[in-house]
Amino acid sequence: MKIKSVNDFVIKFANVNGSGSASANQMFAKGVFRSGIPVSPKNIFPSNIQGLPTWFEVRVNEKGYLGRREGIDLFVAMNPQSYQKDVEELKAGGYLIYDSSWKRDFGREDINILEIPLTKLCVQEFTNPKQRLLFKNLGYVGLLASILEMDKDIYISLIEEQFKGKEKLIEPNVKALNIGYNYAEENFKDYCDIKVNKSNKTDGLILTSGNDAAGLGCVYGGATVCAWYPITPSTSLAESYSKYSEKMRVEIGTEKNKFAFIQAEDELAAMGMTIGANWNGARAFTATSGPGVSLMSEFIGLAYFAEVPTVLFNVQRGGPSTGMPTRTQQSDILCSAYASHGDTKHILLIPSDPKECFDFAVEAFDLADRLQTPVIVLLDLDLGMNDWSTKEFEWDDNNQYDRGKVLSKEDLDGIEKFGRYLDVDGDGIPYRTYPGTHPEKGAYFTRGTSHDEYAGYTEDGVKNAEMLTRLVKKFQTASSLVPSPVFNQEKNTSSMGIIYFGSTDCSMQEALDVLDEQNINIDAMRIRAFPFNLEVWEFIEDHDLLFIVEQNRDGQMRTLIMAEGGIIPDKLVSILCFDGQPITAEHITNKINAHISGKPALVAS
C-alpha cells in the first residue's frame, strides 16, 4: 500500500543536531511554499548544540491547515540513533527515506522504503570532509524534489539566493542537490504517490517566524531601546529587532544608530533598562521566556505601581523551572497576568500567527504608552521560532504612534499644578512628563513606594488605597482598548462554544471544520488580550458549555476567566495539552467528541 495524496501530507526529518540539517529542511519547506502550497515547518530540537537527535516536521496542506498533525506520511530518517522510534511514527503506506550507505532492516512490511546511499555518494563527489557531511542534507532535498515531482529550479534559485555574495558555494550546493535528484530520477521514477503540484495558495502569504515578525514590529512600532538577556526561545526576537534595525535604522550620513541594543547581564537588568528607557520617553522593550519572567517580577510590579510603560515579550517554553527549554507551552498565563507581589494585574496581548505578532508588537507600544503600565506579549516557542505561512505584513503610512498622555513644555506652561498621579480625565490614566522637559514645572519623583496624586511619598494608607483603586479603574479602561476577540462565526448559533488563543489557532481552524463535518455545531472565540472585554464576557454568557483549549497543565486561562469574570466553573471544560508539542486538531476534536458523547477521549491530555 502506498499513501496517495496531492499537496497534503506530513513529512518528518530525523537528523543529528549541529549537522546543518535544519537549514536544508527549511529549504525543502520553502520550496514547497514557493510551489504555492502553504507549509508549516517545525523544528523539534534538543537543548544542546551538537550530536543529539533532532527532528523537523513539515506539514504541507493546500487548504491551509497548518497545525501539527500526528502520523507521518514521509520520513527522511538520517539518524540511526532514532531509527527505531522514527519508523514507528510512519503511517501504514508511508514512505521511508534513509541513508542506505549502511543497509538496514526496519521490520515493517507496511511501509515503502526508498534507499539512497547518501554518504557513499557524497564521499564519491566531495573531498572536503565537512562538505561530505553537510551535503548529505541537500542530497535528500534533491531526492524529495524528484519523487514529489517538484520544480527543481525552485531549489536552485533558493541555493542561489542563499549564497548571494559567496557565489563560489553555489556550484557545490547545486551539485549536492543533483546527487539526490538524479539518483531518484533514476531509481524512484513514479514510485511515490505523494505529489506536490503547483498551486497559488500562498499568494499574499509569507513564510516567517513569530519572533522575526515581532522584532520587525518593534522597529515599525518605534522601539528605540532593546535590552535583553539570551534565553531560548526568545533570543531570536531580540536578534530580529537588531537585524532589522541595523538595516533600516541607521542615520544616513553619520552612520549612527537610531536605536540602542543592549545585551544585559541578566533578566533583572534587562527589565530595569527597559523601564528606565520608557520612563525617559523612549519606546523600549525586552524579550524573555519563563525563567526570565520570574526574575523580572519584582521590576514588573514597580512598573505597574509607578506607572511606567513597559513592553515585554514572553516567548513561552515548557515549564516549570528550566523545564523543556526547546519545547512549546502556553503555561505562563497566570504568572504573566498577575506577575509580582501585592495586588497587580497586567495587560496581555496574545497573537496567533506571525502577522499578528507584527501587529501586536506595534500595538503593544501604543497600549503601554497610553496606559502607562507593563504590556506583556505572549508568544510561544512554536509560534516564535518556527516559520509559519502567514499573511503579508501591512503598514498604513498614515499611522501615528499614540504616545499617550505626555505633557510638553507648552502643556506644562498652561497648568497650575502638575499632579503626576491625578486622574484628570476620569479614565484612571494620569499625565506624565519626560525628564528635561521644562525648567520649572513637571518634575516629580517616580517611586515604587506609596505615593499621593502629586507623586509625593505618603504613608497615609487611605490615600494609597485610592491610588490602588484608580489602578483598577485604569485596568477597566484598558479592557476597552485592547484587541477584541476574534469569532469564527458571525452570530452565535450554538449553546456550545470553544475558547482558544495564541498558536492554537492553526489547529483550531482545522478542528472546527472537522466538527462541522461531523455536524457538531459549535461557536468559537479566540481571545487576543487580557483584560477581557465585553465581547469576551458576552460570548461566555451566551453559551451553556464552553471548552477552553490550552497548552498547559492547570488550565490557566480558565482560571483567569473564572477569577476575573465570576463565571460558573461547571460550564468551563478544559482541553489541555502539555507534552511540549503543539496541540493537534485531532486532539481537540477527540476531546470535544468525548465530552459530548460522555465517553473518554482517545487522546491522553
Binding site: 532589522y244 530595569g272 503579508e392 499611522n399 528635561g436 517616580t446 517611586r447
Partner: protein, 351 residues
C-alpha cells in the same frame, strides 16, 4: 589630611551663580534622615557642586535604589526628575534612561547595601559598560534603613553597635570599579566638603562612568567606637592622596598650590581637575598602580581618599554603541518607522 580646614570665605546662601540661581534653588525637600547622618552632608555637597557648576536642574535625572542613602535624591535638586527604583537596581534604570536621552546628566545615588550586596552585579556591569553617569555610593558600612545589619563594605575589624563581630572581609568598590572600566574613580568622606565638592564637580563634568565611594557615617547604627566607618575613625585614618581643585572649562587655572606639586586632569569638556599631590604614590592615570595603592593602604589600615583614577579620554556607552546624537526619546515616527515600501520589500524577501 585636608579636612577640618573649613572653607575660608563663607558663601552666603543667596550668592548667585552664572544662571542667576542661588544655592536654595538647588535644594530639595526637607530631609527625613537622622540628624547628623553623613548622607545629608553629601546632599549638601551635591547642592554646592551643582550650584558652582551652574547646572540646570531640570537637565539632571536623579536615580536611586532603596535605603536611607537612596532616599537622599529627594533632598536635593527639586527641579530634577527623580527615580527611586527597587533595591540594588538603580544601575539598570540609569542605563535605560541614559540610552533614551544622552543629553541629561545622570546622577545615581546608592548605598553600600544597595550596591555591594544585592546590586553588585548591576554595579559591575554598569561600570563595565562605561555608562556616562555619576555613581555615588554613600558608604556607611551598614544597612541603615533596615536597622544596622552589617553591609559587605564593612571592615573585618569592625564590630556592630551591639558588639557582634563582622565576620567577612570588606568589598572595595573603587578598586573593582577601576578594574571594570570606570574612567573616573574617587573616594571621599562626607565630612570633608573641601575635598568632596571639587571631586563631585569633576565627576559630574567627566564623560564616562564616574564613581565616588563616599564614606558617610550612620550616626544611628554605625558611629560607635568599634566601627571603622564612624566619624572619628575616618578622621583618624583618612589618608588623602591629593587636595583637589576644580576649574570649569574656559576659566583660568588658579590654584594656590606651589608649582610642581600639582597634577592636572583635563576633562573632556575642557575643564580641569587640579590636584595638589599629598601622597607620593599619586598618579591618577595608572590603573594597575591605582588598584595597588588602594589595596596597600587598606592593608595598612588607612582609608585612601581623593581622586584614585581618571582616564579623561575614555569612551562612553553611547559612543561605544554608536547611538545617534539626536536623543532617542525625541525621535518620532518619521525618524523611526521604515514605512510601507520597505515592508513590501521585506514581504518579498520572505516569499
Amino acid at each position: 589630611m585636608t579636612y577640618i580646614v573649613k572653607p575660608k570665605n563663607h558663601h552666603p546662601l543667596l550668592e548667585k551663580n552664572e544662571l542667576g540661581l542661588t544655592r536654595r534653588d538647588y535644594e530639595g525637600a526637607v530631609s527625613t534622615l537622622c540628624a547628623g547622618c553623613g548622607h545629608d552632608s553629601i546632599s549638601s555637597a551635591i547642592v554646592e557642586a551643582c550650584f558652582q557648576l551652574s547646572i540646570e536642574s531640570y537637565k539632571v535625572a536623579k536615580l536611586s535604589g532603596i535605603g536611607c542613602s537612596s532616599k537622599a535624591p529627594a533632598y536635593f535638586l527639586n527641579q530634577s526628575h527623580g527615580f527611586n527604583s527597587v533595591h540594588g537596581r538603580m544601575p539598570s534604570i540609569a542605563t535605560g534612561a541614559a540610552m533614551a536621552n544622552h543629553e541629561l546628566l545622570y546622577l545615581g545615588i546608592s548605598g553600600d547595601g544597595d550596591s555591594a550586596s544585592i546590586g553588585i552585579g548591576q554595579f559591575i556591569h554598569c561600570a563595565r559598560r562605561q555608562l556616562n553617569m555619576t555613581y555615588i555610593v554613600e558608604n556607611n558600612g551598614t544597612y541603615g534603613l533596615t536597622k544596622g545589619q552589617f553591609s559587605a563594605t564593612n571592615d573585618l575589624e569592625s564590630k556592630s553597635k551591639y558588639g557582634d563581630d563582622n565576620l567577612f572581609p570588606s568589598i572595595d568598590l573603587p578598586s573593582m570599579a577601576i578594574q571594570l572600566g570606570a574612567s573616573f574613580v574617587a573616594r571621599s568622606f562626607s565630612g570633608d566638603k573641601e575635598q568632596l565638592v571639587p571631586l563631585l564637580k569633576a565627576a559630574l563634568s567627566h564623560k564616562g562612568f564616574s564613581f565616588l565611594d563616599i564614606i558617610s557615617p550612620c550616626v544611628t547604627f554605625n558611629n560607635h567606637n568599634t566601627s571603622t566607618k564612624s566619624y572619628d575613625y575616618i578622621r583618624e585614618h583618612n589618608d588623602a592622596l591629593s587636595r583637589p581643585d576644580f576649574v570649569p572649562s574656559g576659566k583660568e587655572i588658579l590654584t594656590d598650590y606651589p608649582k610642581g606639586s600639582t597634577v592636572d586632569v583635563p576633562l573632556h569638556d575642557g575643564s580641569l581637575l587640579s590636584l595638589e599631590k599629598i601622597s607620593e604614590n599619586y598618579d591618577p592615570a595608572d590603573k594597575i598602580k591605582a588598584i595597588q595603592n588602594i589595596q596597600e593602604s587598606q592593608r595598612d589600615g588607612k582609608v585612601l581618599t581623593g581622586l584614585l583614577y581618571a582616564d579623561p579620554e575614555a569612551k562612553d556607552l553611547k559612543e561605544i554603541l554608536n547611538v545617534s546624537d539626536k536623543p532617542l526619546n525625541e525621535m518620532d515616527l518619521n525618524d523611526l518607522c521604515p514605512g510601507s515600501e520597505k515592508l513590501k520589500d521585506i514581504n518579498s524577501g520572505l516569499k
